[in-house]
Symmetry: C2
Subunit: 219 residues, 2 copies
């Protein structure tokens, strides 16, 4: 049995579980976002700001994926939103099975939006479905504008690209135009948002767009 | 055959190849560094600055690991140093086999230092030996100070931690002291350097320490 064959089998088994998760989500009418980025791009901070913008309009739940620690779930719960922490214990991504187990902790019928914050990793999470309605990715301008050239699958898989930390642009070598052009070359319909989660720029546009995606599922 | 068993077999097979690589490196007296970080922490820029500091004192070669593109090898070769680009075609880390294949491109006897720049990923590269004398990691202050809590294996495996982009400290929420304290809790003997690759701070100390490691192998 070759390594490639084994990996194929793992991905196929995961896809079956992800499809079962998707059926559960459809039945409850909950919109699920799989949020991915490099370590430290600001996923949890974006989530905190997004929750603040949408609180009262949407009922939100969060699944936090980390190799170790529960600091992110604790941050989210301070905003009055239920957060379940998954510790992968070494694994570099979340998969359908981990999400299925975490779902026992939620009343899905009481949610409009469930955000799955993946392990910080610009590679492996892009290969694993969890049953999500859309993948979204976050890129910090401090990471540079060459990331679409080096990590193309992540950009191809993402319906939305949130470019974060634009307040750092005066101090780093990064062209937002280059990021946008390279991302669109990989996926023409990618929705792009420029934000600063610490300063607040751009968050209204992102939150409004996300709310519209959630509404479109409920028809 | 369980997934865990398969992964164990993959790691064991890799360790055997890595040991063969290490024998080759020992025979040639070349010191090998496996350089790891998140995407966009500044590995290639650190390498460019390190080459400038050590050129004339050490004969240096570089292996560049990326999922796709050859932009990093091109950047390195502009400094008059031989660089071989490995494209993993999706794989999230370099392994011993990929390095063995790349070694055919080098005259190891004509090198003092070979740097392997791994795929940008704070998880998987820490699990795979390539035959290196030491692993070193780079962390950008823009990633925040909670990374040792979330990605402990990477810090435990690294003999050196280079904290980069310290020129951004006035603009980001990050305590270098917290990083240092948390990294030392994971590995007491980790050597820590604070640098700004764009401004030049701290690079002399890092380059001098690295040159001393290279010299210690040759005895």
């Amino acid at each position: 049995m070759s390594t490639v064959r084994v990996i194929r089998d793992i991905l196929d088994a995961n896809d079956r579980i992800a499809k079962d998760n998707a059926k559960l989500f459809a039945r409850s009418g909950v919109f699920v976002v799989n949020l991915m980025s490099s370590p430290g791009a600001g996923k949890t901070t974006l989530l905190e700001r997004t929750i603040e913008k949408l609180a009262g309009r949407l009922r939100i739940g969060v699944i936090e994926g980390d190799i170790q620690s529960s600091v992110d779930a604790e941050r989210i719960e301070r905003h009055g939103v239920k957060a379940v922490q998954i510790n992968t214990g070494g694994a570099c991504h979340l998969d359908g099975n981990m999400i299925r187990d975490a779902l026992d902790e939620f009343d899905l019928d009481a949610l409009d939006l469930l955000v799955v914050e993946n392990v910080g990793n610009l590679v492996c999470p892009a290969e694993f479905q969890v049953g999500e309605d859309m993948k979204a990715m976050l890129l910090s301008v401090a990471e540079g504008d060459d990331k679409p050239l080096k990590y193309p699958l992540m950009f191809q898989q993402s319906r939305a690209l949130v470019i974060n930390k634009i307040d750092l642009l005066p101090y780093v070598n990064c062209s937002v135009e280059a990021i946008e052009q390279r991302a669109k070359a990989l996926r023409e319909d990618i929705a792009i948002f420029q934000v600063s989660c610490t300063k607040g720029d751009g968050l209204d546009a992102w939150a409004a767009w996300l709310a519209a995606q959630v509404a479109s599922k409920r028809g």
